[in-house]
Amino acid sequence: MTAVLLAAATKVDAGVFVAAAAIILSGAIGVVISRNPVHAALCLVLTLFGVAILFVAQEAHFLAAVQVIVYAGAIVVLFLFVIMLIGVDRSEDIRQEPLRGQRPIAVLLGIIALAEILLLSRGTDWATGAPSLGGPADGDLPNVEKLAESIFTRYLFAFEITSVLLVIAVVGAVTLVRKPPPEETADDDEPPVAPVTAVAATAEGNTP
């Protein structure tokens, strides 16, 4: 399997791939087995960095930079921000399943996905680990120009639809965050917690 994967690549490429794969996998395993949500988020950052390395190895430099800036720099930071602010940063007991029957189904789906990937890599010639096999980012021009060209010509519609989706998400988030005047907040499950107490609770969780 490894031989097939690395057949078309040079030694350096193979080394980079193996190192990045090790980083990604250890991060991914860490996300699953960490009991502390903050540790899990940090392991997720590790995985994202590994993926960024793979992007660089495939000469998608721009994508790698955006991966670090957006995912590691903004999204996971927001995860951490929320974890710290609402105070769920204590170790959780993972022996009890939060959803009934979730774990067997997860294992099954994982095996199916793995089998699918292995099958696909057998049947086709593109999954060899060699860099930039005729992808759209191949060629002499800088990454950004090629990306811009494909986004603003061929994939314009998809691009615009995605941005509309994002705008809808932003508007939705703002609408949800904006609390109506106090007498109408009774439809929540919990009584509305004043932000001051929320943060105080977070701090006290760390200093009992």
Partner: protein
């Protein structure tokens, strides 16, 4: 050709004939020199800040260790080295140990993309006076500054005590917010320069100074926004809410002592030095300036220009610290989200219009100004009608 080879080939002429021992030596020397220069400049910067602030406050300042107190920082470093390293009882040990390095390493790495001078020739080889010239160029700055957020954030969380936590929550919100404005002003530079590479951004600005510098070419607004956002990103006064002594003891590094505290201290000053270098690179033409052609002088004079421009910003940072009071937290957020980001988006549109044709640029400018005025009027009316009904975002309420 493998991916790693193309990566090395991009940019620096030293890699043009492949990689051999001499090339490796040149690269290693560049890395070591950059490291040493950065450390020495931090030593100098700490002394300079203390001395200048005391001058502005009519005090004497450090004057015992070495001539003019120059060795004071070294003495402090040695003192910190021998202090006891405390680990709080409630701390998350691994993250607590990791956090200082997450602050320090990005500052180091960012300096790698700064072109300090032009091309120099060593024997038959020539090389750029910068450690690396990666294809992602200036995006590397944004990537590193987003990694630097983790250092501050995790330090506060891992300490397991409330003031550091408050400091780190403030820090993460502040740094993420101002990164947007920072990125948009970098986008303006990239738009006009037509390249992400720092070496090309600098080359684009050379000659015909100072009117070819991006500071003037982009109409001053991106420069001003970048400087403001960079100050907030560095957590320097007047945006140093992260470590507001009066409210948060020491902010995110309250629980740190000894060498780990020294690392945070080092990281803060190093980021200041590096960010000044980045401002010079992006907006003031880097090493551009009148210099003789070729020879040793031709290599040294541009470095002198670079350092002189950098010094202006280092001085300004200290000056701001000695002069301005700290912002209130909601003022900080208002400035970032409601003023800097819309303004930089608007200016980016104007610059894009100017790139197509001058009249489009002016049309965008006029249209934008009109819409802006309408928006301000609409906000005024909205405020008058919903007076007192709608609060601020709840997440930030507590820090008032």
């Amino acid at each position: 050709m493998s991916a790693a080879q193309t990566l090395l080939l991009a940019g620096d002429p030293v890699f043009a004939d492949g990689v051999d021992g001499a090339v490796l030596l040149i690269v290693a020397v560049k890395v070591l020199v950059a490291f040493a220069v950065l450390m020495v400049s931090v030593l100098f910067m700490v002394w300079f800040e203390r001395k200048l602030v005391s001058d502005m406050q009519a005090r004497i300042g450090p004057n015992r260790a070495g001539p003019w107190g120059l060795l004071q920082t070294l003495a402090d470093g040695i003192k910190l080295f021998f202090k006891e390293d405390l680990l709080p009882d409630q701390a998350d040990r691994r993250v607590f140990r990791l956090a200082p390095y997450l602050s320090l390493v990005p500052a180091f790495l960012t300096f790698a993309i700064v072109p300090v001078g032009g091309v120099i020739h060593i024997g038959e080889r020539s090389t750029l006076l910068q450690v690396a010239d990666p294809p992602v160029g200036i995006l590397f700055l944004l990537a590193m500054s987003s990694v630097a957020v983790y250092g501050v954030m995790l330090a506060g969380w891992a300490s397991g005590s409330k003031y550091p936590l408050l400091g780190s929550v403030r820090a993460s919100a502040q740094m993420v917010s101002y990164e947007a404005a920072l990125g948009l002003s970098v986008a303006a530079v990239v738009l006009v320069s037509g390249s992400l590479l720092t070496s090309e951004i600098v080359a684009e600005q050379s000659g015909g100074l100072p009117f070819k510098w991006n500071m003037f070419r982009l109409g001053f607004v991106p420069f001003a926004i970048f400087c403001l956002a960079a100050t907030a990103e560095l957590n320097r006064p007047p945006f140093d809410l992260v470590e507001a002594e009066q409210e948060l003891v020491g902010g995110f590094h309250t629980e740190y002592s000894s060498l780990r505290f020294a690392l945070f201290f080092l990281a803060e000053f190093m980021s200041t030095v590096v960010m000044s270098a980045i401002i010079v690179t992006l907006f003031l033409g880097g090493p551009a300036g009148p210099a003789p052609d070729g020879g040793i002088l031709g290599a040294i004079v541009p470095i002198g220009w670079f350092l002189a421009k950098m010094f202006v910003f280092l001085f300004t940072y200290v000056w701001l610290r000695a002069t301005l009071p700290r912002f209130r937290y909601d003022q900080l957020m208002d400035l970032g989200w409601k003023r800097l980001i819309p303004l930089s988006l608007f200016w980016l549109l104007v610059l894009a219009g100017m790139r197509v044709d001058r009249k489009y640029g002016f049309a965008v400018f006029a249209g934008g100004a009109l819409l802006g005025l309408l928006l301000i009027r609409a906000l005024q009316i909205g405020r008058a009608t919903t007076e007192g009904e709608v609060g601020h975002a709840p997440a930030f309420e507590e820090t008032r």
